[in-house]
Symmetry: C2
Subunit: 373 residues, 2 copies
């Protein structure tokens, strides 16, 4: 039998090479209560060659720590995976977790693992000629998408202009950052946005861990009057009992997930009923593999689901969710750096039908921002 | 008034420069059940200049992830601290934690923060002309030190030879790695060591997270017959309820701490009574600042304390502990790379009387292992 150029599904496929590149992409006038001013994002792309195909992956930061993440990929994970069989993603994920266990258990290690995990899922899609949603066992469907700013430093005028832009795009919901030191200022901004969008558009608030659980309870009670879809990251991720208390005391559902860096962290939140809208981010969570299992946990617990950033991957992943879903159209859009930006029509996103993730970075657009050489 | 060359205690002292260097130090024939074979350690040294003085710090890994930790120091933390006042260590620690929050909350970020935190404490000692133990509010005292191998791959003969070496040095206790797939093999090794050391020498076992909590319970019940001082890291750090169950069910005390990367993690273990011997590691925990607070938690909860690695810093830190203490004389000794290795006399360690940490790396010994240029 002649040697096939592209191996059949089911055969072992040896990883031949892994290349990564570090970029710093400028952002303007953004920030939130937990992370302060955000003037750039770091984007690290990964290309993983195996069996004549090339899986693409990426990871990102909000402008800090990306060199460290890149070094973990270059010096630890790429050498670990090269030469291994690409088809057993779970085994490779576990090998990466174990390799970085001593300095890992989350944090930067999860961001590094994510880039390779995403490339492995992409490669699997290319090999099996299936889009990601199908690999995950779901059918494609339309996911409602809300507009999301990173807008705490914006003036009220600029906040309202941004909101008008979301409405003009036909998005059925908008999210506003809160966490001003003066509670009345937050209240004024939220009231103005609610007045602008009317009663039929969903409104979410995001505190980015600004407060103690007790402060978050007081703030939440003041803000519930605005008929909120959810109240996001009211306090630090380590305070699981605090979140559980907020979930019991407030009517507005508690949403979080972007700051959880392992399945262990998700499990504790679900077990202790400390999250009501489970949000996945396939980068910060440690890969598509982790985000998928987190969504399955949400399904089993009867929780609503949503996404943080990574709009393109989220459109595939959220097809797995069985309760209410919402995709975040994030302010750090990668649209201008992608060959085919993720489209939103009539306020709804659909996953791409291309094999794999469907994400291909436009090299010409990215090249000017490469910063590792 | 003439400008003093060295500022007085209490004055603000601006951080002028931070230099770091990455080294790979070879190790031979070491390994454990959780991390596999360990053929090198990575050592990253830091020098922080402020007010005419130079504080020295370091961080380490067990051979993986160190390039990432180094990049976090070089690209994120050193630029953040340069120009700030060195005297408010707590404020600087918090600024570092917040800076790396998005990719942090533990993991590699804690290892990076530790190097700078150690350098800041060292600098404070130089400024105030006090050894670290005095800065921590304690008196110097002798701390019993036990011999500790990273010896799971060693043959039984080599394990016994290593143990004889510990006895010859007059150490009052020895620790043995367990986690062989065959429970009888662990049992034979532990029995042979207990027979060799007799009844008057302390014996500790370390499983390095080899098992599930249920397996760890079965293994622990088989091994308790050997009159153990403690049973270390029986399962993964994420399984806090599992550790609490083991602490209740087994007579042998449960020991851990080296894998905890924040004060939040320590607090949960103490609150849930899931640790009985609290072990600090001023590198992996995120700095002297974190290890100090962890020891104060142990004191408040009435727990015994011990150290993992970092023998030189541990001799200062353990002076703070109010219950029984034990210092680990670790197999990855830095002795040959230090100007004045930490001494153990009659099985006891004393903190140095030099100002600061007293740790100075011997540049001539380290230089051949520098690997970042």
């Amino acid at each position: 039998m002649a040697h096939a150029l592209v191996p059949e599904a089911g055969e072992a496929v040896k990883i031949e090479s892994i290349q990564s590149a570090y970029h710093r992409l400028p952002l303007e006038g953004m920030g939130d209560a937990g992370h302060g001013a955000i003037d750039s994002m770091e984007l690290i792309t990964v290309r993983l060659r195996a069996g004549g195909l090339e899986g693409h992956g990426y990871t990102y930061t909000i402008g800090r720590g990306g060199r460290g993440v890149h070094a973990l990929i270059e010096h630890d994970l790429a050498p670990l995976l090269t030469g291994r069989d690409a088809t057993d993603i779970q085994a490779l994920w576990d090998a990466m977790w174990q390799r970085l266990l001593y300095v890992g258990r989350g944090g930067a290690a999860s961001f590094a693992i994510a880039a390779l995990d995403i490339a492995l899922w992409d490669l699997r899609g290319l090999r099996e000629k299936k889009p990601l949603y199908a690999l995950l066992g779901a059918n494609a469907r339309e996911i409602p998408a809300y507009g999301s700013g990173v807008d705490l430093p914006k003036s009220l005028d600029d906040l309202l202009k941004q909101t008008e832009g979301f409405l003009a795009r036909g998005l059925p919901g908008v999210k506003v950052k809160i966490g001003k030191s003066d509670a009345r200022e937050d209240e004024e901004r939220v009231r103005a946005v609610r007045r602008l969008i009317g009663d039929k558009v969903d409104l979410m608030l995001d505190a980015n861990m600004a407060w103690s659980a007790e402060q978050a309870l007081e703030r939440g009670r003041r803000l519930e009057q605005f008929n909120l879809r959810w109240y996001e990251e009211p306090t630090i991720p380590e305070d699981v009992p605090g979140h559980a208390h907020l979930a019991r005391e407030l009517e507005v559902p508690i949403a979080l997930g972007e700051s959880l860096h392992s399945l262990h962290e998700f499990r504790r939140y679900v077990d202790e009923r400390a999250v009501e809208v489970l949000q996945i981010d396939p980068v910060t969570n440690g890969g598509i593999s982790v985000a998928l299992h987190a969504l399955q946990m949400a399904n089993a617990a009867g929780l609503d689901a949503s996404s943080h950033y990574c709009d393109e991957l989220a459109a595939h992943l959220l097809c797995v969710a069985t309760r209410r879903v919402y995709l975040e159209k994030h302010a750090f859009a990668l649209d201008r750096y992608l060959e085919e930006p993720q489209r939103v029509l009539n306020g709804r996103a659909r996953p791409t039908e291309a094999p794999g993730t469907g994400m291909r970075f436009a090299e010409r657009a990215l090249a000017p921002y490469r910063a590792d050489r």
